[in-house]
């Protein structure tokens, strides 16, 4: 029995002389929901492509469900399911035909594939459009079909690259629910997201990548405590935020920050002191990394 479903050590990948991943170490336990966050171009999609055998790593060891992604591609493929960042659906076919095709390719019989297609159409709210060609779908409908396609059969590991981008709030909540249910069944979910709230709500563990490295890894709370202190918000009379200043957690540090703000604060402004959010963590970690790599 494998304890770490995904085990990455010293992973490096460059495209030409552009180094994208520069020594990544990650470990994802079985049944966890793992979120990868990082700015645009940080290499999230590249990492998912490497984990799902689409792209070969330059160096380092990468094992998925105990299989090496270079020497045992077939083993990896049998253990994973992927929804990539960009829709991977057949536009000429209908949603139902897409799902049935996927079912057949996953080894279901024609009857099983049809039954599974009907279930998934219902749970992704696509029943009404089931027999329309995907070409005519809205972006969100296409995305929902795309997600349904990777759930036709349940594999031990599910990769989701920005799964909720382009979904409305209701569909996003529904997907979060599905992801939690899958994890409860023992599926390991590896997802990337631009929404820090999503990582905060959903993930058991979060890794932040920037500048080709993992700059922080842990639970949402651990990451927040790494930023340390509180955040002082300066708000105008309409309660709009003018400035947010991260500070320490001692009373002296907070007071000094407020003293600074008083000088620049317009008439009628107010202050609010709060715990750091994921957003603050993200900004603090990625800007620090970018500044360091600029030097």
């Amino acid at each position: 029995m494998v304890t770490a479903m995904i085990e990455v050590k010293g992973l490096r990948k460059a495209f030409g002389d552009h180094v994208v991943l520069d020594g990544i170490d990650l470990s994802v336990p079985s049944g966890a929901i793992f979120a990868l966050i990082g700015p645009n171009g940080a290499g999230k999609t590249t990492l998912i492509h490497i984990l799902s055998t689409l792209v070969a790593p330059d160096s380092g060891s990468v094992r998925v469900a105990g299989h090496d992604v270079i020497t045992d591609k077939e083993g990896v493929k049998q253990s994973i399911s992927l929804t990539g960042q960009f829709a991977a659906v057949d536009e000429v076919l209908t949603a139902e035909e897409n799902l049935r095709m996927m079912g057949r390719l996953c080894g279901l019989t024609a009857a099983e594939a049809r039954r599974r297609a009907i279930e998934l159409l219902a749970s992704f709210d696509l029943t009404a459009a089931a027999h329309k060609r995907v070409k005519t779908y809205s972006g969100g409908m296409r995305r929902r079909l795309d997600l349904a396609l990777s759930l036709v059969v349940t594999r031990p590991i599910l990769f989701l690259d920005e799964p909720t981008t382009g979904l409305d709030t209701q569909s996003r909540r529904a997907l979060w629910n599905d992801i939690r249910q899958l994890a409860a069944k023992g599926v390991t979910v590896f997802l990337t997201t631009q929404y820090l709230e999503e990582a905060d709500q959903l993930a058991d563990a979060i890794a932040v990548i920037a500048g080709g490295r993992v700059v922080a890894q842990g639970t949402a709370d651990e990451l927040k405590s790494r930023v340390g202190g509180d955040v002082v918000e300066l708000r105008d009379e309409n309660d709009e935020i003018i400035r947010e200043v991260p500070t320490g957690s001692s009373i002296r540090e907070v007071k000094m920050t407020i003293d600074e703000l008083v000088r620049a604060a317009p008439e009628g402004s107010r202050v609010n002191i709060r715990r750091p959010s994921m957003e603050d963590v993200f900004v603090a970690l990625t800007t620090k990394e970018l500044e360091e790599s600029a030097i």
């Binding site: 689409l54 493929k77 990539g84 960009f86 000429v92 076919l93 996953c106 023992g186």
Partner: protein, 262 residues
């Protein structure tokens, strides 16, 4: 670990191919414009060559008997060229990544397009022959000659479809694929398809006599209208096998090299 989430069984090689062939045939049927063109073009070419050019090329009025094999190959070449566009379209869409990460033979996507092209083109060929018979084509072929002719035509379609599939795989986009494919469509004009090669200037004749299309045309012409075949049949089959194997290897190489890139 939950029993639900064992590593997946997956489709057998045969059913993977069947699924992809079904998919590509659905695509062909739904691409109405391409389907109409594939059927209408042969008919238009047949009428054009018989009634417009025919009188000037061969005033006796028997040009139709000369030109039918050429029209068949011209249409087969045209019909299989859309494979390049279909394949390039799949390679630039994210769906190929989904197939590649599944425990199936993902190259079967291409096999699906090739078989669908074969079916489309055999239907188009039947239409060409039907129209040819209506406008005065007279054949000397018995059942054996017909079977042999269909065999050669099938091999020719398969060969060119794999060649176009490889072109589709190396082209950066569907429109580039269509552009490269177009160049190949001139080959039939530089052969014995429309006029005997001994009417051409010597240098051109050298090209026309030694390119792969001429022996294929001469073989079909011999089988259907009784002109001498001699050893051209071997040249025809040899050329097709050579290009077929070469294209298949080229296509497999390009398919694997493209992994993870779009």
């Amino acid at each position: 670990m939950n029993s639900l989430i064992k590593p997946a069984k997956s489709a057998s090689f045969a059913s993977t191919n069947a699924v992809f062939i079904g998919r590509s045939i659905r695509h062909s049927v739904r691409n109405t414009e391409a389907l109409v063109m594939a059927i209408a073009l042969p008919i238009m070419l047949m009428l054009l060559f018989t009634y417009v050019f025919g009188g000037a090329i061969q005033p006796g009025g028997h040009y139709v008997n000369y030109v039918v094999p050429g029209i068949i190959l011209l249409c087969a070449g045209f019909g299989s060229s859309s494979t390049a566009v279909d394949v390039a379209g799949d390679m630039t869409n994210g769906i190929i990544d989904r197939f590649r990460t599944m425990p199936i033979s993902s190259m079967s996507v291409i096999v699906g397009h090739v078989i669908a092209s074969l079916v489309r083109n055999l239907v188009a060929t039947a239409v060409v022959i039907g129209v040819a018979l209506l406008v005065g084509f007279r054949t000397t072929a018995g059942i054996m000659e017909w079977l042999a002719a269909v065999g050669v035509i099938t091999l020719f379609i398969l060969t060119f479809t794999w060649l176009y599939a490889a072109i589709g795989l190396v082209a950066g986009s569907p429109s580039a694929a269509s552009g490269y494919g177009f160049a190949l469509l001139f080959l039939p004009y530089l052969s014995s398809a429309f006029v005997p090669t001994d009417t051409m200037p010597t240098w051109l004749r050298g090209v026309a006599d030694n390119q792969p299309i001429t022996p294929v045309i001469e073989t079909i012409r011999g089988l259907l209208t009784g002109t001498p075949i001699s050893d051209v049949a071997w040249w025809a089959v040899g050329w097709c096998m050579l290009i077929l194997v070469g294209s298949y290897i080229w296509a497999s190489w390009a398919f694997n090299r493209k992994a993870g890139r779009r």
